[in-house]
Symmetry: C2
Subunit: 221 residues, 2 copies
């Protein structure tokens, strides 16, 4: 993993155009940008060079520095994380593992009261059953983000026997398969995402219990 001060150093170099061009910069000049000493900047550059993040041409006077494609990749990765924070707030990604439910998913997804609404509001008829994804504990925090967004509401309905509660729903994707996650209105936060799809996912994606999957949830319709 990249040391944070080296990342900052590369960022400064990139701001001066070092991704596309060789830039001419002395360790003293860099140190002023970084608010450190000349020696420290010199050390940073040596470290970056050693890691293959930059190339250097040491002339008799100053050095010419350019960020390598490896270095640029690292910066790009960082940029994408900031985009995730400030721009791409229309989707949230979760990492989790497949687990078996208790079979009640199938019972619910076969109720006509739900099926008709899924078809109308989500655009597909679900394969019977839900695919349950247990998300990492720490990612439960991201679930809060879902609470603040307008979900696709599946209304409650009644049969002659009982009442089926309302469900909040979001379009979502596992692997490349489109579907939706369903969050029962009357329930507390859970660390399990219930995913429904027109397809039989365990077969289509060859999934078994314990497999790691990424779930992308779309917040805008």
């Amino acid at each position: 993993m990249m040391k944070s001060y080296l990342l900052q150093t590369m960022k400064e170099l990139a701001l001066l155009g070092a991704i596309k061009n060789k830039i001419e910069i002395s360790s003293l000049e860099l140190s002023k940008k970084m608010k450190s000493s000349q020696q420290t900047s010199s050390r940073y550059l040596l470290e970056l060079d050693k890691k293959g993040m930059i190339t250097r041409e040491l002339g008799i006077k100053k050095q010419l520095i350019q960020i390598t494609s490896i270095g640029a990749e690292v910066l790009k990765e960082e940029f994408m994380q900031y985009q995730q924070i400030f721009e791409l707030t229309d989707k949230i990604q979760f990492t989790g593992r497949i687990i078996s439910g208790m079979g009640e998913g199938r019972y619910y997804t076969e109720q006509n009261g739900y099926v008709n609404q899924f078809k109308e509001k989500l655009g597909f008829v679900p394969y019977p059953g839900t695919l349950n994804v247990e998300i990492e504990h720490i990612e439960r925090n991201k679930l809060r983000l879902l609470k603040n967004h307008n979900a696709i509401i599946i209304e409650e309905f009644e049969t002659k026997n009982r009442t089926f509660g309302g469900v909040r729903s979001f379009h979502a994707k596992i692997g490349n398969v489109e579907g939706a996650i369903v969050l029962p209105l009357r329930s507390h936060y859970s660390n399990i995402l219930e995913f429904i799809s027109h397809h039989f996912l365990r077969e289509k994606l060859n999934l078994e219990d314990g497999d790691e999957v990424k779930v992308v949830i779309y917040l805008s319709e």
Copy 2:
């Protein structure tokens, strides 16, 4: 200035949604994200709290953390720098100081051969004279970025007395005043930007020699 490891920590918190919500995270969980020890993460959180970057609610179990507006501002600033690197490559910003030229700017900007082209290609008739901005030495590196972009070419022309050389030109802005910078085709890199505008800038912006100005150069037309 923000320590780089604290910035990284805030970024991780932000990725979990800590800008908009309180997130529930233990120092051990954070340490796994940061690839450090529980003790180090605990220390980071204490530092961030002390600096007013985050708020914490310590319950009997885990702590609830939210990034303050000050913290969010710091992250936003960082994001903008990455945008500068990867996205906003259609403009470049320079910082420099006003200096006096040798008066020859006036001579050139009054030549009809130039004036007509400025009017046609840049869209304004320049006030006689150029405003010279000496850029920080380190920023000369950014000038290289100009070289790779298509400039607005002001063609060379002849009068009965002499030949006037071609000029590369870019739309630009100082303060809020639109104008252009002109780069003589036959010259080496210089640390002086020559800015022309329809307005008399020294008066309009109340500029004197030595004043610091920001010049934004637009690379796309």
